[in-house]
């Protein structure tokens, strides 16, 4: 029979099942293949905090959400068109966000009595049988049974066979969206290169899923999503944490330095350590320290020794590093500190996303300890921001904060990656022949017009000097308890960071006019949701623009002026209004906040409604 093909502009799919169902891998593979095909795409893995939560339970549901399309995509989507539910719990947890009329692909084996009980359906209740899903299209497939049949005689045990169920689903979805299997077959070949049996089995099941779409009598629709009109160039898929790692490597390389990465494992930052530890041939030295404090202190030691020191963590770890960040600040040594934010306070929601560590980054130290803070707005932007942080750290001799969060750290998108030669050269502030005064003495805290001191490292003859956490005398760096000197140095360090704004790019408008009714001002991972919301509002005729801060501290030098051209400034954040407070206190304007602290990113509608609900917008007639 012929199958109809329907063209779609954009599609949101959620793969959901047990942590052990291979959901993340399935989603990752689909994203990669879809990116290769030329769609724009945005992904959002959402997993439980437990490594192997009890099977079949509501708490154990793992999800991988992705949106792809023939148009520009900025978020993984608010509501799903397709929900793949490997078991009853996965359906129950996620049904709420399925569009009316959306498609459910249900693995019927995951809806047996045991699974229904675990998912807390009432005795005898089965959503697949009782018409409660009538407003959706339901494809019921016994994935387990078909997979077992396909692998009969493969010599694999039931446990191993069942583990390849996800390949069936993937193959089926590939069929549905007219995708080729090549990329995933290549992936399987690589992954199981030392195990022919598993290699064959996985490819077999993948193809079974694909052919199932072709031959099954029941399902008639296939969908076509054409490539998106993306700027010309060469693309790859990238996740935020990987982009951060590559940005750090590129930064060190462009500065002619080795990279030292001191870290202690913590969710969701550990992947940066995993990535970097693989790149030893880039002279990347990764050190898994005994704790968060040692992680940053070892990085300070490395920077003192003339290597680019970097550390990363998440909120709880950053809290422990606070004193050492203060030390790096008063020493004025280059250092990059990445915070991949997660839900707080305390241990909070380790696998969920939040932006509530902005104050921690900007203010979270004893004494007056100004540290520049940069924020990444998307997975690929993590590269740019990490690179820029290296540049600022080395050229301004200062610790620099990079903020990302669990959402963009684990999320992926296509990235038109740069050529290495297009990246800026970074010039560390080394001492040179003219660095000594008339008496032939090196003054470690003598500064240039940017108020930056010069860097001398152990091994350099004639530049021996002592530095430390005690207040130091201007220029000589000798310990000084002089009250006037202390205040002078406090002001100098503040001025140095403030002055950076003169050398940093001005704030741009991401979309919209440079004046109007409303400016939606964001920072960090809210970029996609804000951008999409603002585009929609503009289409609906509203006077709305979007600006997104990369430099959160110090603020870009034109920000005040830029904000003043709008009647209203609205600031959405995944916290209780931290940027909002900074903007209000810095510029004395009546900015409005939009807040969500659920461990989940904003949906586009949430931002639209908030902007509209502010009564700030009148439709343009």
């Amino acid at each position: 029979m012929t199958k109809s093909t329907e063209t779609k502009r954009e599609v949101v799919i959620l793969f959901a099942g047990d942590s052990g169902d291979g959901i993340q891998l399935t989603g990752g593979q689909f994203s990669e293949t879809t990116g290769l095909y030329g769609n724009d795409i945005s992904t959002f893995p959402n997993f439980p905090a437990e490594i192997r939560a009890p099977k079949g339970t509501l708490a154990g549901v793992s999800g991988f959400q992705l949106k792809f399309g023939s148009v520009e995509i900025f978020t993984p989507g608010d509501k799903y068109d397709v929900l793949v539910a490997m078991n009853a719990a996965a359906l129950k947890v996620n049904l709420e966000n399925l569009k009316t009329g959306g498609l459910i692909i249900a693995n019927t084996d995951g809806f047996d009595k045991k699974n229904l009980n675990l998912a807390k359906y009432a005795d005898g209740e089965n959503p697949l049988e009782d018409h409660s899903l009538d407003k959706y299209i339901v494809h019921k497939i016994d994935v387990t049974k078909i997979t077992r049949n396909a692998l009969k005689g493969s010599g694999l045990g039931i446990k191993e066979i069942d583990r390849s169920k996800n390949m069936f689903v993937l193959g089926y979805i590939y069929w549905m969206y007219n995708r080729k299997l090549d990329n995933t077959i290549a992936f399987i070949n690589q992954k199981f290169k030392n195990n022919e049996q598993l290699r064959e089995a996985n490819i077999n099941v993948l193809k079974t899923g694909y052919h199932f779409g072709d031959t099954s009598e029941a399902f008639t629709s296939r969908y076509q999503v054409e490539p998106a009109p993306m700027p010309k160039g060469i693309y790859r898929n990238i996740k935020g944490n990987e982009a951060t790692a590559i940005g750090l490597i590129a930064g060190a390389k462009k500065a002619g330095l080795n990279l030292f990465y001191g870290s202690y494992p913590i969710t969701p930052a550990s992947d940066i350590l995993h990535f970097l530890s693989k790149y030893k041939n880039f002279k990347v030295k990764t050190f898994q320290a005994e704790d968060e404090i040692a992680a940053i202190c070892s990085a300070i030691g490395a920077s003192y020794g003339g290597t680019l020191g970097v550390t990363a963590s998440s909120g709880p770890g950053i809290a422990l590093k606070g004193e050492a960040i203060g030390l790096a600040t008063i020493l004025e040594l280059p250092l990059v500190i990445c915070n991949v934010q997660r839900g707080g306070p305390s241990t909070g929601l380790p696998t969920k996303t939040e932006q509530a560590d902005l104050f921690q980054a900007v203010y979270g130290r004893n004494g007056e300890a100004p540290v520049p803070v940069l924020a990444a707005s998307s997975p690929s932007d993590c590269f740019e921001v990490a690179f820029e942080a290296c540049r600022i750290a080395l050229e301004h001799m200062t610790p620099v904060f990079v903020l990302s969060d669990g959402y963009i750290a684990n999320g992926a998108e296509p990235w038109r990656f740069p050529k290495s030669e297009a990246l800026t050269e970074i010039h560390p502030k080394w001492v040179n022949d003219n660095s000594k005064n008339e008496e032939g003495k090196y003054l470690p805290y003598k500064r240039d017009e940017k108020l930056v001191r010069e860097w001398a490292i152990p091994g350099m003859k004639g530049f021996e000097h002592r530095i430390g956490g005690l207040e130091k005398e201007h220029e000589t760096g000798n310990v000084s308890y002089d009250p006037a000197n202390h205040e002078f140095m406090i002001n100098l360090r503040a001025e140095k960071v403030k002055k950076m704004a003169e050398f940093l790019p001005e704030q741009q408008i991401a979309i919209g006019e440079s004046q109007g009714d409303v400016l939606v001002l964001g920072w960090g991972s809210t970029f996609g949701a804000i951008q999409t919301a603002v585009r929609e509002l503009r289409k609906e005729g509203h006077s709305v623009s979007h600006a997104h801060l990369r430099y959160v501290f110090p603020f870009p030098k034109n920000l005040k002026q830029l904000l003043s051209r709008f009647k209203k400034v609205v600031i959405p954040e995944m916290n209780k209004g931290q940027l909002l407070q900074m903007i209000r206190s810095e510029f004395l304007i009546d900015a409005k906040g939009v807040q969500k602290v659920k461990g989940l990113p904003f949906t586009v509608d949430e931002i639209k409604n908030a902007v509209l609900g502010e009564n700030t917008l009148e439709a343009v007639q």
Partner: protein, 346 residues
């Protein structure tokens, strides 16, 4: 890192060349002065150019030390000197790195870093100034203060049982364990020189008199009248002999050290001969930790308890880099940027 070759090592340097123009600010009479002097004295002798030497300290009286050494130096934050030194040594293995710390700095707030540095065995030297008190904060008991210590924070006596620092360091897989005293300059210099030569983390506990807050804490080991009966100086291959008359010795009964009198039928052949390569015996030596004031107390050993050759963290750490470079070639940034699969939009 040095631009010097061993040949142009500045043999003309004197201890004075290692002093800075900064006023030394310890209390008059403090044991720290002697330690500073001995360190400055051995510096020209160890044959390392000034610019390749780094002193890193934490917080406490002793931690002012780097300001007084005309080398590279960092006065860091409380307890963290080992972590900073580890990072420095990891990226710059050729430096001669000296960690200056105290009993509070190393064993209380920085205890975690200390034990991990020891097991990793970075090739650096740790000088632990043990004065059994918090001096800089004006006289609270420390993790090495004896039980019942009366201090500013323990008017009725401390409840804590103290650490045995060298036993702790043995337990942390240290490869060089030594003890010396501020009031025995020659012994101090000898131990420091040996620590410098050891390739690994050299842990040197120095009994240091805080004459302001804990004066005399170590007098039983330092004063003429009591020293001979309370101190055993360890010499490699030599029997453990002590006492005013030099007629007392330590004999091992199984694992139990006992004091015997050489005038009462025992000969030096019966005594425990010191072997710093013997880990078990070194561990027993660290347990010779009796309060000298108690009846029948065993004397306390000074010198190098234990020395073991074990790989240094920084060597293997950097070897892995070399191996990766050899097997994969120098990293190609463009290949890294491109990842494993790309596509082109035309």
């Amino acid at each position: 890192m040095s631009q010097n070759t061993p040949n142009d090592i500045v043999e003309k340097l004197t201890p004075k060349d290692f002093a800075t123009d900064q006023d030394v600010r310890w209390c008059p009479g403090c044991g720290d002065y002697s330690i500073l002097k001995q360190v400055q004295t051995i510096m020209p002798e160890i044959g390392v150019p000034k610019e390749d030497i780094v002193f890193i300290s934490g917080i406490g009286c002793s931690s002012r030390f780097p300001y007084y050494m005309n080398t590279y130096g960092m006065h860091s934050i409380h307890g963290r000197a080992p972590a900073i030194a580890s990072g420095l040594k990891a990226v710059n293995p050729d430096l001669s790195v000296w960690v200056i710390t105290g009993d509070g700095d190393a064993l209380s707030i920085g205890g975690n870093h200390l034990i991990h540095m020891l097991r990793r065995n970075f090739d650096l030297n740790v000088l632990l100034f043990n004065n059994e008190i918090y001096g800089l904060t004006k006289g609270q008991y420390s993790p090495t203060s004896p039980e019942g210590s009366i201090s500013k924070s323990t008017p009725m006596g401390s409840v804590d049982h103290p650490f045995n620092p060298l036993a702790l360091c043995m337990g942390a897989e240290g490869t060089f364990i030594a003890r010396t005293l501020d009031r025995d300059p020659k012994h101090l210099r000898d131990v420091l020189s040996e620590a410098h030569l050891h390739k690994g983390t050299s842990m040197v506990e120095i009994y240091q008199n805080c004459n302001v807050f804990n004066d005399g804490a170590f007098f039983p080991f330092t004063e003429k009248a009591t020293k001979p009966d309370n101190v055993i100086f360890l010499e490699q291959g030599e029997p453990l002999v002590f006492g005013k008359e030099g007629n007392l010795g330590i004999k091992l009964d199984g694992f139990k050290p006992t004091v015997v009198n050489l005038d009462e039928g025992f000969s030096k052949e019966d005594l425990w001969k010191h072997d710093k390569s013997d880990k078990i015996k070194a561990s027993i030596l660290t347990q010779l930790f009796d309060d000298p004031k108690t009846e029948g107390a065993l004397p306390r050993p000074f010198g190098v308890f234990y020395a073991e050759e074990r790989f240094n963290y920084e060597d293997v750490f950097n070897k892995q880099i070399q191996e990766a470079l050899a097997s994969k070639g120098e990293g190609d940034l463009d290949a890294l940027l491109a990842g494993h699969s790309t596509w082109e939009i035309k």
